[in-house]
Symmetry: D2
Subunit: 136 residues, 4 copies
């Protein structure tokens, strides 16, 4: 799959204020991919015979999908940039991705969907933390 994230960023008609474009692009794409993986993992968990043991996993997946979707949207906007909002949203996203990576990770040996989803969450957590660090 190819998103237009990088190309859209290149056409933004105003100043981007010195943001690290590569880290920003990576973070948006990581959020977008993580949201999809979490939505699919919640649903896959629902269809496991042992669904009763996966309820915390399903819930965390749903939170993570919502938070990643919102973070991708906030990061895709540059007009009227507010560093406090960006930082707080990225922090919430890193925290939620870590929680979901830990939870899905604990089922990774049993459920392949949890293993793949945990990887998407770790990747998104890392991308958020790197973007936060680059914001100075």
């Amino acid at each position: 799959m190819t998103t237009a994230t990088k190309d859209m960023l290149a056409t933004y008609p105003a100043d981007l204020g010195g943001v690290d474009r590569e880290k920003l692009t990576e973070c948006i794409d990581a959020c977008v991919a993580c949201a999809q993986a979490c939505t699919a993992c919640a649903d896959a968990c629902l269809s496991e015979g042992m669904v009763g043991e996966l309820t915390k996993c399903i819930r965390t997946n749903m939170d993570c999908a919502d938070v990643c979707d919102t973070t991708a949207s906030v990061l895709s906007r540059h007009t009227g940039y507010d560093a406090n909002v960006t930082r707080a949203v990225l922090q919430a996203c890193a925290t939620t991705c870590k929680a979901c990576a830990d939870e899905c990770g604990s089922h990774a040996g049993t459920h392949e969907h949890c293993r793949i989803c945990a990887e998407a969450c770790r990747n998104c957590e890392r991308a958020c933390n790197e973007l936060i660090a680059s914001l100075g």
Copy 2:
């Protein structure tokens, strides 16, 4: 309008872990109302003749709508509760609501939609902060 927030909370079949139900209900409803007000305010700003002076307001409204929607969803889930996630999401919501309240507030004398929206944002910021405080 009447949401079923309070009634749904009362029917939750497991332990709610000592959360302040009144503050939780208030916060969910404040998020839901703030998201709607921000979406409507962004659109009203778009139709003002002076839209060029309201671009930061429109952007902040869109962020605030997204963050409030996500916060309402996270707070409406109790299964597999994770205090770190709840706190980080509430913090991001309070920060975003404050930013939007400040921005809309600066246009409140000129645009009635900004005045009403700023009020919804202030109310949501307060509800988030009170819920954070009650989490201990």
Copy 3:
């Protein structure tokens, strides 16, 4: 709870094109309330001992929450109105609310959260259909 839906609509600075304001306000508020009820019902179902028998209900609740959220947002915008988009989104919302009302309704005798949620879905389905009819 009080949303600012009606007040925000009253401050819209341009022409609303003859829409039935009362039906529009009712529909937005019904979507907003239904989305919250469905998110809470999905979570309540997750914490039932018989979660294995509620997986279709949880999934339908998640779809309905997403569709109602989107519908509330589309209906809260009036600038650059497109009747085809509004109608298609309302149709999808009515269809999804009916599906969720039927599914939750089938558990209404056993689970109070499903009974309340089915009511919110029926109310939203009706509001969508009435708004569609009023669009002419």
Copy 4:
């Protein structure tokens, strides 16, 4: 960017009911990419000097982002599949993508972000229509 859409689909533990996996994967990824492009295009339009002439474009972008996000989520769930819901949501998505492709397309000669976004919308419209057709 690489989503885990295809890999997650491959790990779904229950029956997928004869859906065309390739068309489903393409449609989910097209929705996800279109939502990001539309959010970015709305924001780029906001920063154009001629924003007053782009208000319909901004609004349509916001609708399209919301509808594509919801469609991606609905399509990422397979448990308790309901053909009526899937079809209605896909129809709303195709209609909204067409509206946004037309609107952004009309500015494609002036604004490169509108050109790229129109392409993402056309791609998503096509993927929705092909998936609808494959549902039989």
